[in-house]
Amino acid sequence: MAASFIGKPISLISHSDVRYRGILAGIDPVQSTIQLSQVFSMGTESRRPPEQYIPPVQEPYAYIIFRAAEVKDLAVDEPQPRHRVHDDPAVIGVSAPMPQGTYGFPPGQSPQVPPASQAQLQQQQQIPPQQQIQGQNGAAAAAAAQQVKNGVRPSAAIHSATASMETVERALGDLRVTDANGAVVQQQQAQPRGGRRGGGQGGRGQQQERHDLRVPNTDFDFQGSNAKFDKAALSPRGTPKVEGDEEEEGKGKEKESDPAYDPKKSFFDSLSSGSNAPTETRGGGRGGRRGGGGRNRREEERERNVATFGEPGGVGLMGPGAYVGGWGGYGRRGNGRGRRGQGPAIGAR
């Protein structure tokens, strides 16, 4: 059911050829409306001749309700390769934008606009395209939506509402949802799959709902934790490796009795490394890695990141190929938000 995809990033093109990007907030089959939240109007981009050009709008709309009949095309936002300024041979150097605060966006800060539109952003200062509405509440907005839409292209209602709804549902049906556990599903919904920034808009908004990784005030109990782990049992002499299938890399080596390095026998070693591990495509295997397991790997990492840090990362902070805002390197000065309830050292310089 389409409703289960609420929270996904969506790209929607109206019959006026204006593209909107936002988070699917709701679908009303009765009224045949689609509701997006955190919507950016991308303008007509290159879909219309220059004289009919409608520029993108910088500020996102909290909500826009669309008549399904007026929707020309709708797609779940897939990650797309970011335009990298470095790919341009004319560019000799580039500086990333200044970090906002230091990391991420402060609450209430408008999310960053998807990269595709950044160039256009520079030129736009103008009025929003006429056919959007900024709905405060559902009903009123829905009513308004119809008026507005009608004004622009009255003859465009060729597609039936149901057909449009099918488009919506089909597009949404492509999404794969990880059902591993509730938390993950929620995360997945809040985030686009591939770390695209556009989707991060929604993710940002819902960030407070993410599981908050609390660091307890107490010390970590190393001994208690280590007691749960029997390292000796890992050796082949201990327990036979029943779970061996989980760890591909572990298997091959366990059978070897020769040490990986014996200076008496050879100058060379047979340590596992990035370039010799079959499962590890680090060295040289770039192409292959992109193609095949790339997405899964990325998803796995996002899940792991949520487990470790309470957020998946990679959105806003760093899209694929994006540079982190500003200075990588410098973490924000700890300013008393340490959870241990203590101020930090006084006076960093």
């Binding site: 960053q112 100058f267 000065r333």
Partner: protein, 513 residues
């Protein structure tokens, strides 16, 4: 070293070692000694002196002024052989002096009056290139030679202009140098010395073709030298193909450093941050490097660490080169106590003040593990390596132990400071702790540093342009300032104020004791 080798010496103006003409030595500006204890990894020498190596006086001056007293084992073995112009294949542990072992003979063979590239030193990462070039400059300080460093991520044009002047030593990463050589900008036709540091990395599939091409630009009778702590079999192919009866030096009876104590802490993924926080509060960290397995995780962790109230820098391959450089430089200077990074900085990086390495994510293979933990315990000093291990990592942990022939112990409740803290710093640490408790009561939250108002997209555009012109540091403060995090005063080897590596790149080592 045999006497026969002396014939091969290029310089005839070498001072005789013990003939009493030692006036020049008294003029030297030798840095203070490093009194930290060291292990046999760097002390087990035969007793050769730098003065016995028939080096030019100018080079010797640079060596002593860098704080070197006696050659380390690998230097003792490699330098005399390398001076005979023979091909060398040298294997020694992390941080035992390999860089100087190839820089010294490379510099010795340079004819300053010849305006040609006479030594090509290749390294796998940009940061390592900077570091190696710095070593060349320090050691060659009195020789009047020109060292140039060139890497990707910088402007090619600058490199081209620079190469129109005399360059004697070229240090860099393979791709850029191949680029320059292919454009006939870098003339390697009379370059007799070809060194590959972290040779196995340079011969991994991603670099190997480049290396082969590069070699074709050098004269036939060049000297090829390979250095690393790990030599997988892939290096053998290269050796058979491109090296002429190389002299093999292997100083590694075992793989791991004696001075580095390794622990694991078994954690769940979601406990890692908590665990790290506890480690920060318990350990007496002089400087630490924390490794993550992806760039995203580097950023996420850096964010968490700062939220916890600890200062940290971070670095990874997707950052702008200028930022990477700045982080690297400032971390070396001791501006910040903790560095979160990806495997970008796994190899070769030599920061003496690092006494703790934390694998926030256990690496996937033992080679990476070995190089990572080798960031602490530099030059035979003591250090700590702590691995956060999850259930998923269990076989990897086992594999690493097996392959490296080492044992990683469960972390004890209390870690003996004697295992990783310089004796002189232990007492200091205690005082710091007390002071800090007092300060905590008065501590006020710091205001956010300068650029607090988050810029709009448009402002960002402008700022981006400004930044392109003059990169500036945005948040540039360290909580770890001198007023004491639990871990003591800001770094610098052995509790001294952070010192630049300009004057003494190792802060006063090697010291034979």
């Amino acid at each position: 070293m045999s006497q026969a080798q002396q014939q091969a010496r290029p310089s005839s103006s070498t001072p005789r070692s013990n003939n009493g003409d030692n006036a020049w030595k008294s003029q030297l500006n030798v840095p203070a000694k490093d009194d930290r204890p060291q292990t046999d990894d760097v002390l087990a020498t035969k007793g050769l002196e730098f003065e016995d190596m028939q080096l030019r006086r100018e080079l010797l001056m640079g060596i002593f002024e860098a704080g070197f007293e006696r050659p380390s084992p690998i230097q003792e073995e490699a330098i005399p052989i390398a001076l005979t112009k023979r091909d060398v294949l040298a294997r020694a542990k992390n941080g035992t002096g390999k860089t100087a072992a190839f820089v010294i003979p490379s510099l010795q063979q340079i004819d300053i009056n010849k305006r040609k590239i006479q030594a090509l030193l290749l390294v796998p990462t940009r940061e390592l290139a900077l570091q190696t070039a710095q070593v060349c400059k320090i050691l060659g300080k009195h020789m009047g030679l020109n060292v140039m460093v060139t890497t990707g991520g910088t402007t090619l044009k600058d490199d081209i202009m620079r190469l129109s002047e005399a360059v004697h030593v070229l240090v860099g990463t393979p791709g850029r140098i191949l680029d320059l050589a292919g454009k006939n900008v870098a003339d390697l036709s009379e370059c007799p010395v070809f060194v590959m540091d972290e040779a196995d990395k340079l011969l991994s599939p991603e670099f190997a073709p480049v290396m082969e091409q590069l070699l074709s630009y050098l004269p036939k009778d060049r000297q090829v030298m390979l250095f690393s702590a790990t030599f997988p079999l892939i290096v053998k192919d290269f050796k058979d193909k491109h090296m002429e009866s190389p002299y093999e030096i292997n100083l590694m009876d075992e793989l791991t450093l004696r001075g580095v104590t390794q622990y694991y802490a078994y954690v769940e993924e979601r406990q890692k941050v908590h665990c790290l926080n506890t480690l920060f509060s318990k350990l007496q960290i002089n400087q630490s490097i924390i490794f993550c397995n992806s760039t995203n995780r580097v950023e996420l962790l850096a964010k968490k660490v700062t939220e916890l109230g600890y200062s940290c820098f971070y670095s990874h391959a997707k950052m702008l080169q200028s930022h990477r450089n700045r982080v690297f430089h400032d971390f070396r200077q001791g501006v910040c106590r903790n560095l979160v990074c990806s495997d970008l900085l796994t190899r070769g990086i030599d920061i003496q003040a690092v006494n703790v390495v934390i694998n926030f994510d256990l690496p996937k293979n033992s080679e990476t593990y070995l190089h990572r933990i080798g960031r602490s315990g530099r030059f035979g000093h003591l250090g700590l390596a702590i691995n956060l291990v999850t259930y998923e990592d269990r076989f990897n942990l086992y594999k690493i132990e097996q392959e490296l022939g080492t044992e990683i112990q469960p972390i004890p409740q209390i870690i003996d400071k004697g295992l990783y803290v310089a004796p002189s710093a232990i007492a200091e640490g205690e005082q710091q702790k007390q002071k800090q408790t007092q300060q905590q009561q008065q501590a006020q939250p710091q205001p956010q540093p300068q650029p607090a108002p988050a810029p709009s997209a448009q402002q960002q555009q402008q700022q981006r342009q400004q930044q392109a012109a003059s990169p500036q540091q945005v948040v540039y403060q360290s909580t770890a300032g001198s007023q004491g995090r639990p871990n003591g005063a800001p770094v610098g080897a052995n509790g001294q104020p952070p010192r630049g590596y300009q004057g003494a790149y190792r802060g006063g080592v090697p010291v034979a004791r």
